[in-house]
Chain length 165, copies 2
Amino acid sequence: MQERRQEPGVDALMGQFHAYLAKNQLKTTRQRDLIAHKFFASEGHISIEELLTRSRAENPKIGYATVYRTLKLLTECGLAAHRRFGEGQTMYETAGDTEHHDHLICVECGYVLEFHNDDIEREQERVARSFGFDLVRHRLELYGLCPKARGIKGGSCPNEAASDA
Amino acid sequence: MQERRQEPGVDALMGQFHAYLAKNQLKTTRQRDLIAHKFFASEGHISIEELLTRSRAENPKIGYATVYRTLKLLTECGLAAHRRFGEGQTMYETAGDTEHHDHLICVECGYVLEFHNDDIEREQERVARSFGFDLVRHRLELYGLCPKARGIKGGSCPNEAASDA
DNA sequence: GTCCCTGCAAACTATTTGCACCGGG
DNA sequence: CCCGGTGCAAATAGTTTGCAGGGAC
């Protein structure tokens, strides 16, 4: 098990996106490129709103609808996946050809760490099979107190800064 | 690992609910009792809408707001927990003093099976610790094809009937 | 040139809130 | 009695959709 770090490269992802668009006779537009690029460049998890904000930094005329529509496209072609951690709005993360990972979330500061553990994966597979299921995908989220939050319980967590925002 | 079956008893849960209300100087009302009772009696997962429908069967004047408010109370006192499996609306499940469990969901028919696996739990604990986290809770959902759905792929899944609804 | 795409605003869905009246303690 | 609870409807929040004009191919 290890923390995930390396992204597959924004360019490669843009390429996959363009390929998907081409294959489906959809158009490559300035807006889609901008949004997709901002999205791929955003490493962790990002909300529609945040993505819109970042996109508007370069093209103020971008609207919510376009971001939603683009993210829907990205989700369809497997380059994005949406998660709903807390109660707030949906967060998206790049899902490209990156290996699968799960999440470890700090309940105190909201910091999200990605990890991968083969033992758990294997056991999940076994559980599903034991009930006669063909496992397609899964979602595993661990909620806990991160070291920093635990140390200075009550104060603001340093991880807060690291957690993108 | 085994499929969960035994519920802690509706009466006991009602008792816990009443205790919580009393402790917080909240009132025991006909509506709250009715909604809580219908909720506790509903075994699996239930949506606000379904709970409203069932409650209205006995008291047609119950409104959405009351169901939401009651479920919020139940969640606060730990007797209910909400889950968001698909994209639809939030589902609630009784969380009382029942032992923890995870979910195995059929992507074809939506059937939801509950299970518990100590090996996975242990490993999760280990993962969290390895990152310095104090594990508070977790969420594990396995999505796959149930035996029935796999067998008659394309047709309607028999589990659909078993899946409450 | 033809459609698809975009931006805007209206529509929708799920959930929350304000308020006057009701009822539990 | 008093104050919280209820039902209704209006208000929100997040997301989707309809439409007229614009842009990619």
